[in-house]
Amino acid sequence: MTARRLAKGGRIDRSRMISMQFDGRRIAAHPGDTLASALLAAGEMIIARSFKYHRPRGVFSAGTEEPNALITLGEGARSEPNTRATTLEAFDGLVARGQNGWPNVRHDLSAINGALSPFIGAGFYYKTFIGPFRGTAFWMFCERYIRKAAGMGRAITLSDPDSYDKTNAFCDVLVIGAGPAGLSAALTAGRQGLRVILAEQDFALGGALLSAPPDAATDAWLSTTADELHSLPNVTILARTTVFGAYDGNVFGAVQRQWDHVAQPPSDEARQCYLKIRAKRTVLATGAFERPLVFGNNDRPGVMLASAVRTYLNRYGVLAGQNVLIATNNDSAYATALDLVRAGAQVTLCDARASVPQPLANELTSAGGVCLSGHGIASAHGHRHITAASVVPVDRNGRATGVTVRLRFDLIAVSGGWAPALQLWSQRQMKPVYDTENGCFLPVPDLLPDMCFAGSVIAAPGLSDAIIQGALAGGASTSQTAHLADTAPHWARDLHPLWCVMNAQDKPFGKAFVDMQHDVTVRDLDQAHDEGYVSVEHLKRYTTTGMATDQGKLSNVNALARMAQLSEKSLPETGTTTFRPPVTPVTIGALVGHDSGEHFHATRLTPLQDWHLRNGAVMTQAGPWLRPWYYPIGDETLDQAYRREAAHVRRAVGLVDVSTLGKIMVQGPDAANLLNLLYVNGWSTLKPGKLRYGVMLREDGIVLDDGATARLSEYDYLMSTTTSGAGRVMSHIEHLLATSLYDLRVRVTSVSDQWAAMALAGPASRDVLRAVSGDFAAALSPNSLTDAQVEGVAVRVHRMSFSGELAYEIYVRSEDAEDVWAALITAGAPHDIAPYGTEAMGTLRIEKGHVAGPELDGRATLRDMGMGRMASSRKPFVGSVLAQRPDLQDPDRPMLVGLEIDGPIGAKAGAILFAADGKTEGNGLGWVTSTTWSPALERFIALGYLGGAPERIGSTVRAIDFLGESTVMARVVSPQFFDPEGERQNA
């Protein structure tokens, strides 16, 4: 192969030079080149080594379907493996490396794998990694080396220095593909004033027109159409944008490569942008991929698609070979042959059909080419690149009928017909059907009412047809578009379905690749068939054909054709596999966008966040919330800090931020009726100014949530929920009101964000409250509430206790929260007030045996929590009937217990409880839910659920942490470890 840049021609800017590097060598290019065209122009033959066999591979195509020319782009943290050189726009400073070869792709020591190929065929892993060695350790050891030898480029572990954007887009018509059909569709829709998005993955508009020789009429049409589209304000043209996924609701995923055509994006710009496009209607004008032919050594550098050879010639001014063999089974390759002859190449066209199209053949021969009818290509020769080819006469079934003749060539251009790029349509669960007339799978029109087609994707016979189809798809009422003369046979007319020349034994001549990227040969398919793989989906997975990064764009139909042949079925009967997103590989960074690190999900902050940070709090994640975990003094550890904080609350007074509690206003004349239905306990007797603890169940009788609800006035209640249950409870109530309690005169409103809340707890809490709010508030009796003021700010004070100490919850408008908190800290100073975090709060509630998140685990019943007697028997409530199911009433169900741990190590939450002696087997007797050091008891304690709890009180159990492999002994006690009579909170 002697590829070279011609002295003139091509749609590149020859007035400017670009300098790039490939494997350390300088590669010259012009603006408008791709890396592949520049590499060809520079005579670079071997671009990569293949996946399994390390065979040399070069440029095969000129587009996204490229199976071979995968390179690693960039260096260091910007290094990106498996980039297709054929779609990579050339830019100054581009640095690329060949892949999967050591020391490099030209001299690759692993090429020995090729000799081992009989042993690493289809199903290699499945068959190899069993026996004869015992266990899997030996094979796991081997696998490390096998994996290293196989594969594509290496992913890097450095973090990506670039940023990525996400955006939403909306339009009336989304046109995918800016070839003649897509341009025509966009223009028609744009002229009607519709909002149009035209997405094109190339950096230039024009599609197949860019691969055609310069022509006054088509070039003029292209430039006036593009100009008019650019001038329409309602048309958005997105170049360098790949629509990679089609989803329900006519939603599309697309990635725009905003700054991939420069070495490094500007510092304030995102490299790529992920667009979610919501379209009312879509026009698929995605064109078609040319299909390769299969023959011996068909993967060698110097074998290319005929259409790609034409593209490199006409678009980039690169003649890919001087002495060219063109092998085809249809008309379209004649265009390549004619263009090559006119560019000065010697061309031999080998047409597998017995009767060639006379006008085209005459044109070729009169231009100086040679045309052989009824001949196919048996195999290619040459190791590092093509030096010769064997051609052979074939019958209409593709069987060789004569002797092979070896002829010298430096380039083999193949055309096996065309495969419409219907991936996006197929992704919507659509099955294409094989069209015998056009010799390809086609989409079925009208199955998706909001998607239509134009151009080669539905086998438009020629350029003018594509433009007319585009106009109709864009909304034109009649086909009155300016016609363009067809300049070349645009579609694979008169295709003869012959994909591979076979010898007398029905085998190809040599190693013939179906899927080049995954190194799948005809032999692999045959073997899978012999082993009984019948379904196309099974065959695909077993041989991995079509499962590489190119998703079988080139290999799919040829693999299916071989399957059909082997099972003696027709292609339509064999069917095809399903395409899934993405159509072409997408940078993970673009999908992630800014949603990484601390922005992975939204973070909720309480109104007191700033105070916590200023005062040295260590924060912890609680669902979406950030909460103060502990406030270390000096270099205190978590353990030291929480023990101090918890002890401090019991001794003096503490202040904790409980703003994260869910807060729901329940208002209306039927508010009490709603509460009666929601909670297991009764609400009719609760007087204004009072509050009550309640538990609510799910419809199936399992505990949903708990919390206190306060009656603020006649018809106004403020319900509180757990932090994590807030959203669940709100939706639960809204659902009941919308679907079965719609007669109730009641409204619920979430006020969680509007109110901050803080708990003032400890023996001195009354003194602190008196100092800020006066005697009246300080005189509150338990389970009562009152309006009050703290330094002129209106607050509401609830007397209730989660810690077990004398305590008040102070509710205040969020915007005033920090003033009130600061006032309490100041007024509390004489009483030695100290803030405490969630860890100490947990300690205090565990000492009291109060249930929280770990106990409300979605499996426990009211009875399991030891609160069975709380349920009213005089009213129905949500879950009241199903809570009585026999299994939920089983006396052997694990119930909440306290555990006093022996020794200096605490139990782990999640540890399994077993009897003190006996076997450690089965599911155990129960499990540990919450665990802490108790400053009040001066030992480790825990809460847990234990079967047969009443009989086991006082006995000893083992708590085994199977993850940490620690075992502690624990005495079973009542969960109310501390002050069980509640004397302190009622003081």
Partner: protein, 97 residues
């Protein structure tokens, strides 16, 4: 991605909504104490391929509960109504008949 035409907010992505399930089941009268009736209501659902009437809530929008008719095989949405208007309509019809 499914797009729902919320009667309050207009066409929105499914990511704004929460799904509950079959909207044809009716909560038994609270006075019913037969466990079988409640078990049917809580646990028994058909899993049809094709037309399905189901609850969605616009949790990231107006928070309305919606009754959506969706084809489970194609994700085609045939209707999207406010649950409370559907039930109010049912109640009115029941009262007038």
């Amino acid at each position: 991605m499914i797009r729902l035409d919320c009667p309050v907010c207009g066409h929105r992505d499914e990511t704004e909504f929460a799904y509950l399930g079959d909207a044809t089941v009716r909560r038994p009268d609270p006075s019913i104490t037969d466990p079988g009736t409640w078990a049917d209501f809580v646990f028994l659902r058909d899993n049809p391929r094709g037309a399905h009437c189901e609850y969605w809530q616009h949790v990231m929008g107006c928070r309305e509960w919606l009754i959506v008719n969706r084809n489970t095989a194609t994700h085609q949405i045939d209707s999207c109504q406010l649950a409370r208007s559907v039930f109010a309509g049912e109640a009115t019809m029941a009262a007038s008949s």
